[in-house]
């Protein structure tokens, strides 16, 4: 069901963005992750979906080297998770934009570069470029508090993209946004992913969101957190650098979209059922 959708076709870098093998993670006696094998190809968009406590955020955090796996191996862009973090191979965005309110929007975007000692002029040039990419160029000098929630989240994405990472890790980045803003942000994210060629590992609660964004939707179930099924998503094709503006809208109205949504929903239900038997 899933194999044909792996994005080896977009892969220009060769190495996989993420390779997880037999990853287990326990917090004390609680098994948060059990036997997770997952590969995210270069440029591929993969969503993690599942009920609360299924370990999808933990999985993302293991990839980001914010948690260490109990057992198993983690490779990020061909490096260990720690090396990848130190080399800023990935950018990360959380549900809360988490902008520093004493910095201007541009200074927030510059933060990852500043931490890595990039010069002021180069930093500012890159920030302007990224703010253009997320459509906030005229807000470079504003304070985060002056921006709406959706705009703040776009700044957070620009910040995550600052070191030109090959991998973008996103933990429910649109979870706190209203439905209209959310849909606009999804289209925006697809355009950005297409333009930058970055792979994306995306944690979400929303089935339609996972389907419309992803090449593959990874369905997880709790206690212990594990991957139960992988479903093909309906990520719209990118023509050159341009995502047809209405492409996302169009996808939402296709039969294939509804089929995929149904498939994910059934996979989730099946996961919940097996949990019932196990428990």
């Amino acid at each position: 069901m899933s194999t044909e959708a792996t994005a080896e076709t977009n892969g220009t870098h060769g190495t996989q963005a993420v390779e997880l093998q037999g990853v287990d993670k326990s917090f004390g006696s609680v098994r948060a992750l059990s036997g997770v094998d997952l590969t995210v190809g270069a440029g591929e968009f993969v969503s993690l979906i599942g009920p609360s406590g299924c370990g999808k955020s933990t999985l993302l955090r293991v990839v980001a080297d914010l948690e260490e796996p109990t057992t198993g191996t983690v490779a990020v862009t061909g490096l260990t998770a720690r090396q990848a973090r130190l080399a800023q191979r990935y950018g990360i965005a959380f549900q809360q934009a988490g902008l520093l309110d004493w910095r201007t929007v541009a200074e927030n975007v510059e933060l990852p570069l500043q931490v890595h000692g990039v010069g002021k002029a180069e930093r500012r040039r890159r920030a302007v470029e990224l703010l253009e990419l997320v459509g906030l160029a005229e807000f470079a000098g504003s304070r985060p508090a002056e921006l709406s929630g959706g705009m703040q989240q776009r700044v957070a994405i620009a910040r995550a993209l600052a070191p030109s990472p090959r991998l973008l890790l996103m933990d429910e980045p649109f979870g706190a946004l209203d439905e209209m803003t959310r849909e606009r942000m999804q289209a925006e994210l697809l355009r950005i992913a297409g333009e930058t060629g970055a792979a994306v590992l995306f944690v979400t609660h929303s089935i339609p969101e996972a389907v419309v964004l992803s090449d593959r939707v990874v369905v997880m179930s709790p206690r212990p957190g594990r991957i139960t099924e992988i479903v093909s998503g309906r990520r719209p094709p990118v023509a050159g650098d341009d995502l047809v503006p209405d492409a996302v809208e169009d996808v939402r109205e296709t039969g294939a979209f509804f089929e995929a949504v149904t498939a994910v929903r059934e996979a989730l239900r099946k996961g919940a059922a097996t949990e019932g038997h196990a428990g």
């Binding site: 914010l66 973090r85 990935y90 990360i92 959380f94 520093l100 004493w102 933060l111 931490v115 890595h116």
Partner: protein
């Protein structure tokens, strides 16, 4: 917009002062000179000129010579002003010393959880020891110190005692501020491969400003109080603490002089608080939701 806000709060302070003066004079006018006594217990103080001199008498006293008929015709106002300036200098020195100690302690406690557990109880306990018990100790130790030919002066004891009061609010406020960033922000810095120093400089220090500014304001007031009390308990000359004691001893004959000195001490505290206001103005970029 902002300067108008400052103007308005200044106007309120003046209005409050005028109200206080009016109440003082009203009490003298309305209440009996002998105070109010209920069943042998005096519940309201005497209001005669010896207990509560008129405001204008106090103000007039500022211009009068300190010692009548002395060769050096220094006015009471000049004596108080020079004493206040001397004390302000010591209090500022104490604030800086205490600030440095407080910040270093807070950094230590933030960096090492063990240090917080070990040190924080002593930081709190330090403030329950009465100042007048510490003063002779500091003077005693200081007397044995001579750094590179520089002998310990009494004013140095005053500064150290003042810093002893000032470090406390700063260390507690700073620790609070340093630990105030959300977990997500700290993890963001970790994901950026930022070390402790970079995280301190770019996240913890800026985030601590809204907590530290009120702490510095408290510390400034504490430093002034500490300096005055230390001057009195170490017998240091030249400051307003000594003046208050000298004037208080002659208060039965000349109460307005003592009130003039107390007024001077109050103005001194306001100046110290105002200086912190300037600091706040300089750091307003970092004022968060807490300030």
């Amino acid at each position: 917009m902002r300067s108008r806000g400052w103007l308005r709060s200044g106007a309120w302070a003046v209005a409050a002062f005028v109200l206080l003066v009016a109440l003082w004079e009203l009490a003298k006018l309305v209440l009996p000179a002998d105070g109010v006594t209920v069943g042998g217990t005096r519940v309201l103080p005497r209001t005669d000129d010896a207990a509560m001199p008129h405001v204008w008498t106090v103000l007039a006293r500022l211009g009068a010579p300190e010692v009548a008929g002395a060769a050096d015709p220094r006015s009471v106002g000049a004596a108080i002003a020079s004493g206040a300036l001397f004390t302000l200098g010591l209090a500022l020195g104490g604030l800086v010393l205490g600030g440095i100690a407080g910040v270093l302690l807070a950094l230590l406690m933030q960096r090492f959880a063990v240090a917080e557990k070990a040190v924080l109880p002593y930081v709190i306990a330090s403030q329950t020891v009465p100042l007048i018990a510490i003063a002779p100790l500091v003077v005693g130790w200081g007397g044995k110190i001579a750094i590179a030919g520089w002998a310990w002066e009494p004013w140095a004891s005053v500064m150290v005692i003042s810093s002893y009061l000032a470090f406390f609010p700063i260390s507690v406020g700073m620790l609070r501020g340093l630990t105030s960033p959300r977990k997500a922000d700290v993890e963001m810095f970790r994901s950026l491969a930022a070390g402790w120093w970079t995280t301190l400089l770019r996240l913890r220090l800026p985030a601590s400003v809204p907590h530290v500014v009120p702490a510095v304001r408290l510390a400034a007031a504490a430093a002034v109080v500490g300096a005055i009390v230390a001057e009195i308990s170490t017998g240091t000359r030249g400051g307003i603490g000594r003046l208050i004691i000298e004037y208080a001893q002659s208060a039965t004959g000349d109460p307005s002089q003592m009130y003039a000195a107390i007024l001077g001490a109050a103005v001194l505290g306001l100046v110290a608080a105002g200086a912190v206001g300037l600091l706040e103005l300089g750091l307003r970029r970092y004022r968060g939701s807490v300030a």
